[in-house]
Amino acid sequence: MMRVIPDSAGGDESPRAPTAVSWSPRVRFIVSLALVWHLVALLVGPISSPPSMLGERLQSIYAPYLQAAYLNHGYKFFGPDPGPSHLVRYVVETSDGERIEGTFPDRKTHRPRLLYHRHFMLSEFLVGLAGPWDPRFDWHNQPLSKSQEAYIESYAHHLLAVHGGKRVTLYLVEHRLATPQEVIEGMRLDDSQLYRSRKLGSFES
C-alpha cells in the first residue's frame, strides 16, 4: 500500500493537525520582511534574463544583494535551445621557435570530468559575452564585444605565462550539432564538416 508523503516541509502526517508557530510576533515580522526581500530577489535574476523592463528596474535595487550572495542567475539550463558547442584552439610560439598547440577544453588532459567542464565553460562563457548579431558581417567576421576582448586577452596572457611564450594566437572553434538524419546516414559527431573556426587574435608577451 502506498504511503503518501505529508504536505508540509517537515511532514506532519496529518495535514489537518493543529500546528503551533514559534518565535514572537515581533521576530516573525522581522524575519518575514527579510523573507519577502529574499523571495523577490530569487525572481530578479530569472526575469532579467533575457533583459526585461521589470528585471532592469529590480536589478537597480537588488544588484548588490544578488552579486554579494551569488544569486543573480537566470536558471535557463539548456534553454532556449541546446546549441553548438565551442572550443578555443591556441598556438603558442616560444622565443626558441617552438610551437605549442592546444585546445580547451581537452578531454585527454583535463581530468576529472569536473575539471574538463571548468575549461569547457571558459570557451562557452566567451561566446556568451557576444554582443547583438551584426548582419553586416558573417560569423567569421562578427565584431567582438568589449567583454569578449577582455577575456580573450586574459586567456592569451595566461597561455603566454604558462608556456613561456612570446606570441600566442587564439581561434574560436564552433562544433555544430549533427542532425538525426546525418547520423543515420553515417556521419560521426566529430566529422570535420561539423566544425568551423575563426581567428580571435594574436598577442605578444
Partner: protein, 342 residues
C-alpha cells in the same frame, strides 16, 4: 460590500496563518542534517578538483584577470566580492585553499557546524566570484545550499556535533530538538528549487526545439558534453520527443505538483531519471547529483530518519531508535516533521 470586507478579512487571516505555519513551524532537523552531509560532500569534492589547477584559475596569471572578471558582470561586478582578489602570493593561495577544504570537510562531518557553515558559504562564494567564466549550474546549487545550511541548525542531526553532545544521565541521547530555523532553511531550499525549475522550463519554452521535441536529441548529440553515446536516439525520434516534453512539463509544473501529498512522490521520483540522465549522458555527474540533493529538501524528516536509522547498526541516534534506548521527545502536533507514534 460587507461580503467583500468579510472575504478580505478571511483571506488576510488565512494568508497570515498560512504564512506563519509554512515558515515558522518548528521542524525536526533530520532532512537538513542529511542535506548538509551530501551538500558538504559535494562542496568538498568541487573544491578538491580546483586543487588540480589552482594557480591556473586563482593565481596571479590565471585564466581570468581582474579586468576580465569585472567586464563580465553588471556594475563591473563591484559587489561580487572574493577574498581571492586580496591574495597575491602562491603560498597564501595554497593556505587559503587548504583552509577552505578543511572547512568543507568539517561541514560534511558536522563539526562545529554553526561556525563552519557560515565559513563554508563565504568560501564557496569567494571561489565562484573569482572565476565567473568557469562556472555552471553546479556552482549555483552549491552556493544556494550552503547559504541555507547556515540559516538552520544543520549540525543538529547526523553530525559529529550531535555525537559530541553529552549523553543524558540514563545513558541515552534524545532526538534533536525541533527547530523553527531548521524549518526555515528547508522551506527556503524548497521554494528556491521551485523557482529554479519554473524558470528553467520557461527558458526552454522560448526555444523551438523544446517545443518541437528535438531538444533531447540536440543535447545528446553534443560531443563536448557527451559521456555516454546515445546517438541511437536518432532512429527513435518519437522517444526523443517524449523525453523532451516530459522534461519541460515536469520542470514547469514542479512548483505546483511537488506540494500536494499525492503528487509529491511522483515529482520527486521523476527527478531521479531526469537528473541521472543529465549526469550519465552529458557528463555532468556533479550537477545531476547536486540537483537531487536539492530535491531531497522535499523529503520529510520522518522518512529520512526511517531510511537512515533503520540501516544504522552501530552507535548513534539511530541505534537508540530501534533498541528502545532513545529518549524520544513526546509526540507533538506542533512539530513539523515529527513522526507520529504508533
Amino acid at each position: 460590500m460587507q461580503l467583500v470586507r468579510q472575504y478580505l478579512r478571511e483571506a488576510g487571516e488565512g494568508g497570515r496563518d498560512g504564512w506563519n505555519r509554512f515558515w515558522f513551524t518548528p521542524a525536526d532537523p533530520a532532512t537538513l542534517g542529511l542535506v548538509r552531509v551530501l551538500a558538504g560532500a559535494m562542496l568538498l569534492y568541487t573544491h578538491m578538483v580546483w586543487t588540480l589547477d589552482l594557480p591556473d584559475f586563482f593565481g596571479g596569471d590565471s585564466w581570468t584577470s581582474s579586468h576580465a572578471a569585472s567586464m563580465a558582470l553588471p556594475d563591473s561586478g563591484r559587489f561580487a566580492w572574493s577574498y581571492f582578489w586580496l591574495i597575491k602570493s602562491p603560498a597564501a593561495l595554497w593556505a587559503a585553499h587548504i583552509a577552505a577544504l578543511a572547512v568543507f570537510a568539517m561541514l560534511t562531518l558536522g563539526l562545529f557546524t554553526r561556525v563552519v557553515s557560515v565559513l563554508a558559504y563565504l568560501a564557496a562564494v569567494s571561489y565562484v566570484n573569482r572565476v565567473p567564466g568557469s562556472l555552471f549550474g553546479l556552482d549555483q546549487i552549491n552556493c544556494m545550499l550552503a547559504m541555507y545550511l547556515m540559516i538552520g541548525p544543520s549540525g543538529a542531526a547526523y553530525s559529529l556535533d550531535r555525537l559530541r553532545l553529552s549523553r543524558a544521565a540514563d545513558g541515552t541521547r534524545g532526538l534533536a530538538a525541533p527547530s523553527t530555523s531548521a524549518n526555515l532553511a528547508i522551506r527556503l531550499m524548497q521554494v528556491h528549487m521551485c523557482v529554479i525549475y519554473f524558470f528553467a522550463a520557461l527558458g526552454k519554452l522560448r526555444g523551438d526545439s523544446w517545443w518541437a521535441g528535438d531538444a533531447m536529441w540536440l543535447s545528446v548529440a553534443n560531443l563536448e558534453y557527451q559521456s555516454w553515446d546515445v546517438t541511437w536516439l536518432a532512429r527513435w525520434p518519437l522517444l526523443s520527443a517524449i523525453t523532451t516534453q516530459i522534461t519541460v512539463y515536469w520542470e514547469l509544473f514542479f512548483c505546483v505538483l511537488v506540494w500536494p501529498r499525492l503528487t509529491r512522490p511522483i515529482m520527486l521520483a521523476l527527478a531521479v531519471p531526469v537528473h541521472l540522465g543529465i549526469a550519465l549522458c552529458m557528463g555532468m555527474i556533479t550537477f545531476g547529483l547536486i540537483m537531487l540533493v536539492g530535491c531531497l529538501s522535499f523529503v520529510p524528516p520522518w522518512l529520512v530518519r526511517q531510511c537512515i536509522e533503520r540501516r544504522q547498526k552501530g552507535a548513534g541516534e539511530g541505534r537508540g531508535a530501534h533498541t528502545g534506548k532513545m529518549r524520544r521527545r513526546p509526540p507533538s502536533s506542533a512539530v513539523s516533521g515529527g513522526r507520529k507514534s504508533a
